[in-house]
């Protein structure tokens, strides 16, 4: 306690220096005077009295020094002094300081901002209980490895499985929500009642679904997402027991999910409704609409769970050959389900950021090494004047610390900015699938990373400044002619560093080039329709109001008519799913008259209006489009796409042939009336599947995806479109009103490629700059060390051009070596990112050539300045200086 008090006072003493000094001086002076007076009293002469007092009391200055040391903390005192000195030193070399701090800040900023994403997506555990034991369970077919399962299959799987502690399913559902302001479409999820217990999530308010809720009779209960509770119900506790009307059905709210709860596959879900097993889809084994989530039993691994599920799937195949033929099972960890696509991108980015930070550190270390070389005389002088090597080392360390602290601080600020920049790169439609990005920011993990990076920097920089100290030969250093071993070391080490830096820059540049090219390919992939001047929107009509087929058909017709009447509209069509959405909503077909060995052909099925293809300007290859007259009174017809025609009717005219379901039941048979070019139904980078199109008038429904071909700028149409639709019936919900081009640009694949391109490109540019700075440093240093040699050469008649050649050859050698190693490194890197590339060969010649050329140009720039300096050396002056 007493000691603590003393330390505290001594710490405070750091701030009252001058007053303390003055007081002790006065006290000592008084003491001396009193002694002299006493000596005079005892009969000594004036001089004698003073002399003897001084001798007796000792050195006043060292007394003051001892007092001062006791009054403050000498260690801190020295530290403050070191700091002041360091700041002065750094201030006097603004070029060096700015370069070092900025380079470090960029390195740390890039690393930390990327790390924040890695942390959010891959490191921070999912907000579920023991998330490592959760798995996603899917059915798999050849074409679709992670497909949704049917309710009946789920029941069989669940009954027979030995590996799951619990096994639940969920499915998409969209609702029309009645609000005081009108009808809105809202996103929901149907879940089996144990869903939240499997995840280990408990409602913050109200209750979870009961086991078996909804299974015997529709439960009509709902759980709210936290944000929905806040937004739609003002966060009031009396929300429990209130009702909401979704699709004309009234649901009682029984609970609210926690704020931390998130479910990335349906990030924006508002309502959670217990799955009813009375739905039409739930009673058919071939109606696939659900995704499985299960918790593994203790000691069960994902592969062994997969083996168990696969064997059950085989049993079901035998038991139900009609519906289950060719259906296996897939089990993957839940984290894989949620961040699967993102993981490789993030890991590549993090690796890139880590490398950049390393480059930055190495560069600064190199600069410090050069500086310590040029400071050897100063250090020798300070050593000769009595500075101990510990004191000098402390000086270097404090220099490293100041640089790193400045760089880290600036780096954090940069990281914060970069993070929001990267977040802006992600379109909103994609962000709803990444709820884990909420609350992204500089958290403890990021700070820890910064601290670790800073520590690394401090150690590295201290060591880089120090070799001079240990090899210091005072005499030779004082006389300035000395060439320590350090400069040889640096010339060897430094050039190796530069080679590594250039190789890194090369690898990153190649990656950026490949991503960029891949993005370009992707956005220019053949869609087989014209995406420009196309407005799109999705419409949900209340099922009760438009229950009969006639009503649905006439609603479709009315919407088309009203939109067509708008000024500037060329054509209007509608489909069940817009192009570029997914190869989903498939049906199983069998071709009449073809030999059949029980194979199962899964094809996307779209229900389209007569003018749909015309509106998209999709090319008709054969036969005819649908007509308004293709209704229920006419023979059932179907249009197939080019891939289906090619694959299943090779060398045959498909027109007039018939397609039906697996049993080829008479009412399922449809006659092929046309072949249309391959519309890209799925994602940009997935291959085109065989697809079938049915006329809306023969298979009407209440959800529409409308496409509008416009003569004017299509965006200007959007607000009018919503009004027109809702004017027909206030209960109709409209969503995703946008343009086809925007869909194209914001599609997840395009976004992934675009952000990869930008991020890797940004890093690559930064790496290039670092490599160039490093190269410049090494060459400039080499020139400064070879001044004498060059002087002699010129004195002996060397031309300026040969001096240029001498220096540039050194740079070319380094750049060439870096390029060579970079080439090898790129081979490794491309195998890592292979899955992310689209339509670009791994060894893409033009990209490699362009990167090599770019690097060569920058290497030339970096070495030209020192080379010119060398060529301007005045031979006489150079020789005299030595």
């Amino acid at each position: 306690m007493r000691t603590l008090r003393a330390w505290l006072l001594r710490f405070m003493g750091l701030f009252g220096r001058s007053r303390i000094d003055q007081e002790i001086s006065e006290e000592i002076e008084t003491h001396l005077q009193m002694q002299i007076e006493d000596n005079l009293h005892s009969g000594l002469g004036a001089d004698q009295a003073r002399m003897s007092a001084l001798i007796k009391l000792g050195n006043g200055e060292s007394a003051r020094q001892a007092y001062r040391e006791r009054s403050t903390l000498p260690l801190l005192e020295n530290l403050a002094q070191d700091l002041r000195f360091t700041l002065r030193q750094l201030y006097r070399r603004p070029g060096f300081t700015t370069t070092a701090v900025l380079v470090l800040a960029l390195g740390i900023g890039a690393s930390v901002s990327i790390f924040a994403f890695v942390d959010a997506a891959l490191i921070r555990p999912l907000p579920y209980e023991n998330p490592a034991r959760l798995v996603g369970v899917y059915e798999s077919t050849v074409l679709c490895p992670q497909c949704n399962l049917s309710y009946l299959d789920y029941l069989d799987w669940k009954k027979n499985s030995q590996v799951f502690r619990s096994f639940d399913v969920w499915g998409y559902s969209d609702y029309l929500l009645k609000t005081p302001a009108g009808t809105e479409s809202s996103v929901g999820v149907r879940t089996s009642p144990g869903f939240f217990r499997t995840l280990g999530v408990r409602p913050v308010l109200g209750r979870d679904f009961y086991p078996g809720e909804g299974s015997s009779s529709p439960a009509n209960t709902a759980l709210l997402s936290y944000s929905t509770w806040q937004r739609r119900f003002g966060g009031r506790e009396d929300v429990i027991g209130q009702t909401v009307t979704l699709d004309d059905t009234t649901y009682t709210i029984v609970g609210v999910l926690p704020k931390t709860f998130q479910f990335a596959p349906r990030g924006n879900a508002e309502f959670w409704i217990p799955l009813s097993d009375h739905g039409p889809c739930e009673q058919r084994r071939f109606c696939h609409s659900l995704y499985g989530i299960a918790r593994l039993k203790d000691g069960v691994s994902v592969p062994s769970a997969l083996a168990d599920m696969a064997s059950i799937a085989r049993q079901l195949e035998m038991q139900y050959p009609d519906s289950n033929h060719g259906q296996g099972a897939t089990v993957v960890s839940l984290s894989n389900v949620i961040v699967g696509d993102l993981r490789p991108v993030l890991l590549v980015l993090q690796a890139g950021a880590g490398l950049l930070l390393l480059i930055a550190d190495l560069n600064i270390a190199g600069l410090l090494l050069v500086r310590s070389e040029s400071r050897k005389q100063e250090i020798a002088v300070r050593g000769a004047l009595g500075a101990t090597s510990v004191r000098l080392l402390r000086q270097f360390i404090s220099e490293a610390v100041v640089l790193v602290v400045l760089g880290s601080f600036l780096g954090m600020v940069l990281a914060d900015g970069m993070m929001s920049l990267i977040l802006k790169l992600i379109p909103n439609s994609v962000k709803t699938g990444m709820p884990y990005l909420q609350g992204l920011g500089l958290n403890g993990h990021c700070l820890a990373l910064t601290a670790a990076a800073s520590l690394l920097g401090m150690v590295l920089f201290s060591i880089a400044s120090a070799p001079r100290l240990f090899s210091a030969n005072l005499q030779t250093d004082l006389s300035e002619g000395g060439r320590g071993s350090a400069n040889k070391l640096w010339r060897r080490l430094g050039s190796k560093l530069v080679v590594v830096e250039l190789a890194m820059a090369f690898v990153l540049l190649v990656a950026a080039g490949l991503f960029g090219k891949s993005l370009h390919r992707l956005l220019n992939v053949d869609l087989n329709f014209r995406p420009d001047h196309l407005a799109t929107l999705e419409v949900e009509a209340p099922q009760n109001t438009y229950a009969s087929d006639e009503k649905a058909v006439s609603l479709g017709r009315e919407m088309v008519d009203r939109i067509s009447a708008l000024p500037g509209v060329d054509a209007v069509g509608h489909t069940s799913n817009l192009p570029l959405s997914c190869n989903c909503d498939t049906t199983v077909i069998r071709i009449a008259g073809h030999p059949w060995k029980g194979e199962r052909i899964d094809v996307p099925m779209r229900i389209v209006s007569p003018l749909y293809f015309k509106t998209l300007q999709a090319k008709l290859l054969n036969g005819r489009y649908f007509a308004e007259a293709d209704d229920s009174s006419k023979p059932a017809v179907i249009i197939i796409n080019r891939t289906l025609a090619k694959r299943f009717f090779p060398g045959e005219d498909p027109i007039g042939k018939k397609i039906g379901n697996l049993e080829l039941s008479p009412q399922s048979l449809r006659e092929i009336v046309g072949v249309v070019d391959d519309l890209r139904e799925g994602a940009l980078d997935s291959e085109v599947w065989p697809a079938v199109y049915l006329p809306f008038n023969q298979a009407p429904g209440t959800s529409f995806a409308i496409v509008v071909r416009s003569r004017q700028e299509e965006r200007s149409l959007l607000p009018t479109l919503t009004q027109v639709i809702q004017h027909i019936h206030p209960g109709i919900g409209v969503k995703n009103v946008t343009t086809m081009n925007q869909r194209l640009n914001e599609s997840q694949t395009a976004y992934l490629h675009r952000s990869s391109t930008w991020l890797v490109g940004g890093f690559a540019g930064f790496a290039l700059v670092l490599g160039v700075v490093g190269l410049y440093g090494v060459i400039a240093y080499s020139v400064s060390q070879r001044t004498k040699e060059i002087g002699i050469r010129m004195a002996l008649g060397a031309q300026r051009s040969s001096v240029y050649r001498l220096i540039l050859r050194e740079a070319a050698w380094l750049a060439g070596l870096g390029t060579g190693i970079g080439l090898l490194g790129s081979a490794g890197m491309t195998t890592l990112v292979r899955k992310l590339l689209f339509g670009v060969p791994l060894l893409d010649g033009p990209t490699y050539a362009a990167v090599a050329a770019l690097l060569a140009v920058f290497a030339l720039l970096a070495s030209y300045i020192p080379a010119r300096q060398a060529a301007r050396i005045n031979a006489i002056a150079a020789l005299r200086a030595e």
């Binding site: 008090r5 003393a6 007081e23 000592i28 008084t30 005077q33 000792g58 001892a66």
Partner: protein, 114 residues
């Protein structure tokens, strides 16, 4: 004149405290003179040892100081014991008595060997 600096420094704090206990308020020179007198001029108190020791005691809260005027009309800093200081005199005195008693036994070895 003693040159046993270590021993002296270890005991100086107690000497100062004891002096202040006996004399009440006193300035640095007075403390030094008093210690020297009691030690029979076997000790010399230099200000290089005295003032840091006074400062340490002050930081530990055993003494306080205030500026005042000496008998010769000089400005001088006067030191006096605090309550904690009085207690400390007692504790330290007891400790030293114990230590010296033990040492005394070592220094008169006759009794030990009997």
């Amino acid at each position: 004149v003693s040159s046993d600096k270590d021993l002296f420094q270890g005991t100086l704090a107690l000497m100062i405290l004891k002096t202040l206990e006996a004399m009440g308020e006193l300035h640095g020179y007075g403390i030094a003179r008093r210690i020297e007198q009691i030690a029979g001029d076997q000790l010399v108190v230099r200000y290089g040892t005295l003032y840091p020791a006074l400062l340490k005691l002050k930081q530990e809260g055993y003494i306080t100081s205030a500026w005042g005027v000496s008998e010769n009309n000089r400005r001088a800093r006067y030191y006096k014991l605090t309550r904690a200081g009085r207690k400390q005199v007692e504790n330290e005195s007891q400790r030293w008595e114990k230590v010296t008693a033990i040492l005394a036994r070592f220094l008169s070895p006759g009794e030990e060997t009997i």
